[in-house]
């Protein structure tokens, strides 16, 4: 019987659902409240909950700092990359309409990719800040 048994069992039960809800909010930003920022924070909160209830070392093994920094960079690059891709396809910067045959489709695709980029960056940055603070103890 370890200490904090109740907390550990509950965290093990709840963390998958928190991650699932985070992905749900990310993907349903088009049809309801949600989007990249909220989803990033919720996913980061799941990892932070794990790091608080169990130990920080195991959480860092699950999400190493190099991977987190890479994900943050890839998120911003994805967003700006969509803008540059619009330039390549002949439109203006961040004018998503040229990504598909009709403007509405292109806009929808552009918004989806951009929100994924935002979600990735926000989640990675929240986790980077948490692990930077938690490391100094």
């Amino acid at each position: 019987m370890s200490d904090f048994l109740v907390l550990k069992v509950m965290a093990k039960l709840l963390i998958p659902f928190i991650l699932l809800f985070g992905f749900y909010v990310q993907m349903h930003g088009d049809y309801g409240p949600g989007g990249g920022f909220q989803a990033g924070v919720i996913i980061a909160a799941a990892f932070i909950l794990y790091a608080i209830v169990f130990d920080v070392k195991t959480a860092r093994r699950a999400a190493p700092m190099a991977v987190l920094i890479s994900i943050a960079c890839v998120g911003v690059l994805l967003y700006a990359g969509v803008g540059v891709a619009n330039l390549i396809y002949g439109g203006r910067f961040l004018e998503y309409g040229v990504l598909a045959h009709e403007a509405a489709q292109g806009n929808h695709i552009g918004i989806l990719i951009v929100e994924i980029g935002v979600g990735m960056t926000v989640a990675a940055v929240m986790m980077v800040i948490f692990f930077s603070f938690a490391r100094r103890r």
Binding site: P33, G34, V41, A44, A72, C73
Partner: protein, 203 residues
Amino acid sequence: MGTVARQGARQGRRAIDLTLNIILLIFVTATGIAAVWLRNLLASTMVLGIYSLLMAALWVVLDAVDVAFTEAAVGAGVTTVLMLLAIALTGHKEKRSRTKPWLPLAVSFATAGLLIYATLGMPAFGIADAPAQLHVAPYYLERGQTETGVPNVVTAVLASYRGFDTLGEVTVIFTAGMGVLVLLGGATRRQRRVPAPAEEDSA
């Protein structure tokens, strides 16, 4: 019969709206003052969490559900944890300042007075023919779904019509993360030795 009942319902709804707004604003002001007044930083952090929750409720009453979602997730969730971590690294109590801040207080009150006086010249909150409601807002509401294919107007405005601003926001968040890394030195894999007790500052 129908119009009288409908008007009665509208009066009732407005009265409940007004009561909710007044109660929430009183509590928001009280928690704001309490967060500044308390000297114990842990209690201050908890009060700021309550403040974020009340602000999220205010946003819901104003029908801004996306903003309420973000405020609840960020303010009452992650920010409280990060502030607790920062307090664990530094100290629990706020230091007493030597001088009384009378001049900054006077400047704050003067600025607040000027701002309140300036809002008297703006159109009333939420009336239908304010310039803010006539120019771009009807355009976004009418053409948002057909032009972007996304039913949620907030996401359409955020990611498509104002996509450049959101790119700036994401860059700011990224820069904040990198700034924390540079300041706290978490990027390298170098294992720091546990600091000697003489080196640890007072908790």
